[in-house]
Symmetry: C2
């Protein structure tokens, strides 16, 4: 049995890796850029869709707001990145958890980490869901059921890769990110060129409408503003992942700060330009995507069959600009799909790393710090994978539904991080001498303050506009998670305080007397061995006991005892209700009451049988006695195992 | 937590009962008759239905075979009872398990007990299903879904009563059985009187037909014989429970043998007379019952809606003879329903009693012998209840489907018992002197031989005619069950042989040297206590070890160790792959290799935290080390618990 599981383990996960392998070479800027920005860049695959499907619900004319919403989201993203750039210089080794925790106090750090951990789970779930969506764009026959299957399979694959701790060769991710950026940039440029020349075609879904949406007509200013806000809140999913370079500072070649700032700048500008371009072209070509297929009507007003379900915005644009099925179009879609897989994989690295750091501070179970023989935080990876998989299955791999829960955590974490930095700069401002230096700090303070206000406002908008659509679930999860983390921390602190050796105590002091109790059920060889071992430990006093739960068995033990001629007496403990545990505990407790300074050690013979299911045929009493006695203060339990089927044993 | 579960337990199951309560007063014949025959009598509630629904599938004209089939089943039942009457005198304390086991060898005993245990499960399932059917006869609006619910609720109720070990006051069962017998006897007599006077009405389902069945016409002799055989095999479910008086011999007042024989006779004659009467009247009034409601057509040829589903035969007769809804009719149906509940309850007593006996012989896990503080074999009751409940749910409480699986076990057990008795009488014949005595034995031999042939033939008929309809499942369950029981027995025998003290061994010999290893993870108070206890046991040699899975933690332990000034050295065990278990095991094994005659004792500090879920935050390493070290020969594991939140503890 053990061998089979061992082979399975080795086959799936590979050979053990020594601890030295953890020391990776640090990344220079050209390597850091693709590695740390893949997460943020991949949101280009679903953020435009969220904006457009929010707008289309208000009618086709609302689609005109798309580019403006795109600009707004990009502006916020740039603000946040500028604020991060400033912060990195001041707090070089801090991710969001660190910033919130050290600047705003541990409670804010806990909330931020809960939000971030939730976000990583959603990154994985959303990425594989979007991956399935892009795969469906290449193979339009895919039903919803198969999309769920594709997304789940992708997630399990990524999970296994994460458990194995797969390290790709150094060039895979850089090449993929470069190809993705090149193809999408080419797409935007080609589209703009076609537009200038008047050659830009119409998207496959141009002219589609959504049932029940206001078609055309004038919309009031307030309604328009509200709609724009809702679209903006949906689009803010673009922000996810922009913090990754900041929290990866430790992995970058020294000097790390300029590298991080450079990566942030290049990433933000690339992502911003691409987003603005994609939103502009999507509006010009008339791309429509919808949440519910049943509500969509095509240009002719007919219902949309599942095989004509709209592809993601990026895929529709590629088909429009390059022509459907053309090599460039297929390449763009495939590169996006692959990048999404890597984004999911990167979430499986970010989550355990953060969980381990939080566990180090005592807010999560300590096991989360433990690395497997493949240097992987197995428990984190498995736990995160399980939750992500349930999300994918529960939401049937529908990106739009998942994003509604996702955004709130992103904005909450960013708001807390900005608030932390705001406090940092305010303190700096007080302590900075010299007008020029103060002016520089003041500028940073202003940028951060604006970023803080904007992220906080965006968060409020999301909460208000999406509360009933799922935001409350995410918020509740974050609040409950934070509370549980606080309790875990308190528990560990209590235990640590209690277990710390008292400097007054003499570590070399010994208990005065040792009283040994041997529990006999039948006088077989394991019992004889337990008796011999107990005597070999030369206790101050020794007694053998038998619990009289079954009269016939007890009489047999007494007979055998007399025949064996053992040099000690046997105590029979009465048990009128046939319970084998409570009377024993009472007996032990009674001795402790009479001689409270004694150390009591109870020896219990145990059969060790293999395979494991055979344990069901034995030991139930021994196990229950052991478990119960361990809860008695001042009592040690010694299990004397006898290996059945291994001959004499010792 | 413990208190809640304690209160729940006490509330549901009641206060503990001392072992003396097991010694019930023995039953005289008037008390034994209702108690031990309720199971057999209750089969009158469903056996006639099985015969009629088998016949009706071959066409309405086949219903004329009903009374003849009834006579045949009753004849077999009487044969078996006569054979049991003879056997009881020769093997006074034997149920079927004992007869098959002692006369045919243990293997036959195992098969017989597997078949009987399965039968008890089916008795419970069939009884509650039939109970729901009778309840539906009183409340015709009951849908199939609610019938499943009623049956499941009844089963759970009976299970709880069994767990509580409910003893009814002495007169409940006698009164109920008397009422049932009186009402059904009155029903039969009144029906016969009405028939003689030409007043007998038609059953509610008279003239109903089954879709697809041959209507009228001549049937070939072979076909008729086959049909009669199939109906007979279905009807043999009447035999269930007739062995109960025999296996209850121990509970009867002395002299037990005459009591058992008297009970057998009265029970068999009553049941036989009632069955013959019911079958006769059912044919005369034209009662029809069907397996599938959809296939039934009423007298007008219309489909039968669920609210007109046919009631059980006994209920239909009561309605026909006494008038629908009359007091006597309702009383008859209600008494039958109640009796079925008691039959289910009696199965919950028979199963654990047999399981405990079989477990005593080592064929089932020994826990099944253990009685709870309510003197109940909890594990048996729960296990049997779970299986019976799954059967009820899986077969949607449809009695007819359950009976198809039930009959095979009944006939198999009876055949084995008759075979055992056959062998007994053949031996007796050889050893009996005197012509008269030999003639008496020869008569018994002939009766038993006939009973054996008939039950064996009936078994073959059931196997052949019902094989694909479920008999194969029951047979497979019995075969697999017997195999598993054989393996359990072999395992226990092996273990017992190995564990028996060798008379050559000196029980007073002591191991030469004791080597103690203390596992330190952090040098906290639990670790210091473990060290103190280890030293207090005055071992021949003592070492403290730390597994170097995490460098920082190891260095901390070494530092603390030096500061504590403990009078022994600390061994650091290398663990390049961060495993905390395998390197420790290797270290211990290495010592054993060098000094194979030493006893090694490993002390592991453990935190005891409450409530239990907090254990998730601690001890994972200690638990894994303990479990793994217990499998090492010659190694004892001592757990040194520290009660967190209880102050100093010892």
């Amino acid at each position: 049995m053990a061998t089979l599981s061992f082979l399975l383990r080795r086959g799936l996960l590979g050979r053990p890796v020594t601890s030295h392998a953890a020391d990776e070479p640090r990344m220079n800027r050209w390597r850091a850029l693709p590695v740390t920005s893949s997460n943020a860049l991949s949101s280009l695959a679903y953020a435009p869709d969220e904006v457009i499907l929010t707008l289309v619900a208000a009618g086709t004319s609302a689609l005109a707001l798309g580019p403006a919403v795109g600009w707004a989201v990009v502006a916020v993203m740039l603000l946040i990145v500028v604020s991060f750039r400033a912060a990195v210089a001041a707090v070089p080794h801090g991710g969001i958890y660190h910033m919130a925790g050290t600047k705003l106090g541990p409670r804010a750090g806990v909330v931020a980490s809960a939000a971030l951990l939730l976000d990583f789970v959603f990154t994985a779930a959303v990425s594989v869901a979007a991956f399935a969506h892009f795969v469906a764009a290449l193979a339009p026959g895919l039903t919803v059921g198969s999309r769920v299957l594709v997304a789940s399979a992708a997630l399990v694959g990524v999970l296994l890769a994460a458990l194995r701790g797969v390290r790709l060769s150094r060039w895979v991710l850089p090449v993929l990110v470069s190809v993705f950026v090149a193809l999408t940039a080419l797409l935007v440029l080609a589209g703009l060129w076609q537009e200038g020349r008047g050659l830009l075609g119409a998207a496959p879904t141009a002219g589609w409408t959504q049932e029940g949406a206001g078609v055309g007509g004038t919309v009031g200013t307030v309604a328009t503003a509200l709609l724009a806000l809702r679209a903006f809140s949906a689009g803010s999913v673009l922000l996810t992942g922009v913090e990754v370079p900041v929290s990866s500072t430790r992995l970058m070649a020294r000097p790390a700060v300029p590298t991080v700032r450079w990566v942030l700048t290049v990433m933000a500008l690339t992502l911003g330009a691409l987003t603005v371009g994609v939103m502009h072209l999507a509006q010009r070509t008339g791309v429509v995507v919808g949440l519910e297929l049943e509500n969509l009507r095509d240009a002719a007003g007919a219902e949309v069959t599942p095989d004509r379900a709209p592809a993601p915005v990026l895929a529709q644009l590629a088909d429009t600009v390059y022509g459907p099925g053309s090599i460039l179009s297929v390449a763009t879609i495939a590169a996006t799909a692959l990048l999404l897989l890597f984004a999911a994989k990167s979430a499986f690295r970010s989550f355990p790393a953060l969980a381990a750091r939080v566990a180090e501070d005592g807010y999560l179970p300590r096991q989360l710090r433990v690395r497997s023989d493949r240097l992987v935080h197995t428990w984190s990876v498995l736990g995160m994978g399980a939750v992500a998989l349930s999300l994918v299955l529960f939401f049937e791999a529908r990106t739009a539904l998942l994003v509604q829960l996702y955004v709130i955590g992103v904005l909450l974490a960013f708001t807390l991080a900005q608030a932390g930095m705001l406090r940092l700069w305010r303190r700096r401002l007080v302590h900075t001498p010299g007008a020029r230096a103060r002016a520089a700090v003041r500028l940073r303070l202003i940028i951060t303050a604006v970023a803080w206000v904007v992220t906080a406002l965006a968060g409020v908008v999301v909460l208000v506009t999406r509360f009933t659509q799922g935001a409350w679930v995410a918020l509740l999860a974050i609040v409950l998670g934070s509370l549980v983390m606080g309790r875990i921390r308190r528990h560990y602190a209590d235990v640590d305080r209690e277990l710390a050796p008292d400097p007054q105590d003499d570590a070399r002091a010994l208990p005065s007397r040792v009283h040994v109790v041997v529990v006999v059920t039948t006088l077989d060889r394991p019992a004889l061995r337990a008796l011999a071992y107990a005597r070999a430990s030369r206790p101050s006093s020794l007694e053998a006991v038998v619990v009289d739960a079954e009269r016939a068995a007890t009489l047999e033990v007494i007979d055998a005892w007399e025949r064996a001629g053992l040099p000690m007496s046997l105590t029979v403990i009465a048990s009128p209700y046939r319970d084998t545990v409570a009377p024993l505990v009472r007996h032990v407790r009674e001795h402790r009451r009479r001689s409270p300074r004694d150390l009591t050690m109870v020896f219990i013979p145990e059969y060790v049988v293999r395979p494991g299911w055979r344990t069901l045929l034995h030991n139930r009493t021994a196990t229950r006695q052991t478990r119960r006695l361990q809860r008695e203060p001042g009592v040690m339990v010694g299990s004397v195992p006898w290996q059945v089927h291994e001959g004499q044993g010792s």
